[in-house]
C-alpha cells in the first residue's frame, strides 16, 4: 500500500517558472524524502527532511514539512527543461528494531517546456 499521495499527478510549466508539488501522508513519520525519476528507471535522492524540521533548501529545491497537516511540498525554482521527470515523496516509517521503511507515493510527472 502507498502512504503518500502527490498532487498534482501531472504538471506542465514553461522554463523559468517555479514548480510546486505537494505530498500528503497518513501516519506518523520519522522523515520525508523526495526523489526524482527519469524515464521510469533509477531514482535519484533529492532531499530528506526530518519530522522535527519545517523547511530545508538544496540549490533550487525548497522542501517544507507540516506534520500537523501531514503534508509536504517541493518547490523547484527557475525550472529548466532538464528538470522534466517524475517526482516522488517517500515517507520513512519506523518499524521493528528502530529501522525504517520507505513508503512511496504515486508521483508527480513534471514537464518543463523550453
Amino acid at each position: 500500500s502507498q502512504q503518500g499521495e502527490e498532487d498534482p499527478q501531472a504538471l506542465s510549466i514553461q522554463e523559468g517558472e517555479n514548480a510546486t508539488m505537494n505530498c500528503s501522508y497518513k501516519t506518523s513519520i520519522n522523515n520525508l524524502q523526495w526523489y526524482r525519476q527519469n524515464s521510469g528507471r533509477g531514482l535519484v535522492h533529492l532531499i530528506l527532511i526530518r519530522s522535527n524540521e519545517r523547511e530545508k533548501h538544496s540549490g533550487r529545491l525548497r522542501v517544507t514539512l507540516d506534520t500537523s497537516k501531514k503534508s509536504s511540498s517541493l518547490l523547484i525554482t527557475a525550472s529548466r527543461a532538464a528538470d522534466t521527470a517524475s517526482y516522488f515523496c517517500a515517507t520513512g516509517l519506523k518499524y521493528q528494531g528502530g529501522s525504517e521503511k520507505l513508503v512511496f507515493g504515486k508521483g508527480t510527472k513534471l514537464t518543463v517546456n523550453p
Binding site: R41, L43, F88, Y95, S99, V103
Partner: protein
Amino acid sequence: GAGVSQTPSNKVTEKGKYVELRCDPISGHTALYWYRQSLGQGPEFLIYFQGTGAADDSGLPNDRFFAVRPEGSVSTLKIQRTERGDSAVYLCASSLHDSTDTQYFGPGTRLTVL
C-alpha cells in the same frame, strides 16, 4: 565510485518460468532493499537486508518471491513460476548502515512476463 548496478537491464520471460535478478550495491553498504514499480505507480517495498539477513520481508507478495544476500554484498531476487502480473521494473537500493540512511537506487531491471 560505482553506484548500485543491476543486471540484466531487461528480462523477457514466459509465464511459468523462473527468473533471477541481480543487484550489486555500493561497496561497503550494509543495507540493501528491493522494490517493485508498476507502470504509473511509485516503488513498492519488497524486502530489506541488513548484512546477510532479511530484516524485513513483509513486502514480498507471495512465496513465489525469494531473495538472498549470502555474503552481505550482492543480492539476487528470485521469482518462481512467473505470472504476467509480475511484469514491472524491479529496483534495488543500498544505504550505508541501515534504513535510516539515504538510499541510493540502481537503474532497475524491467521484467516482462509474456
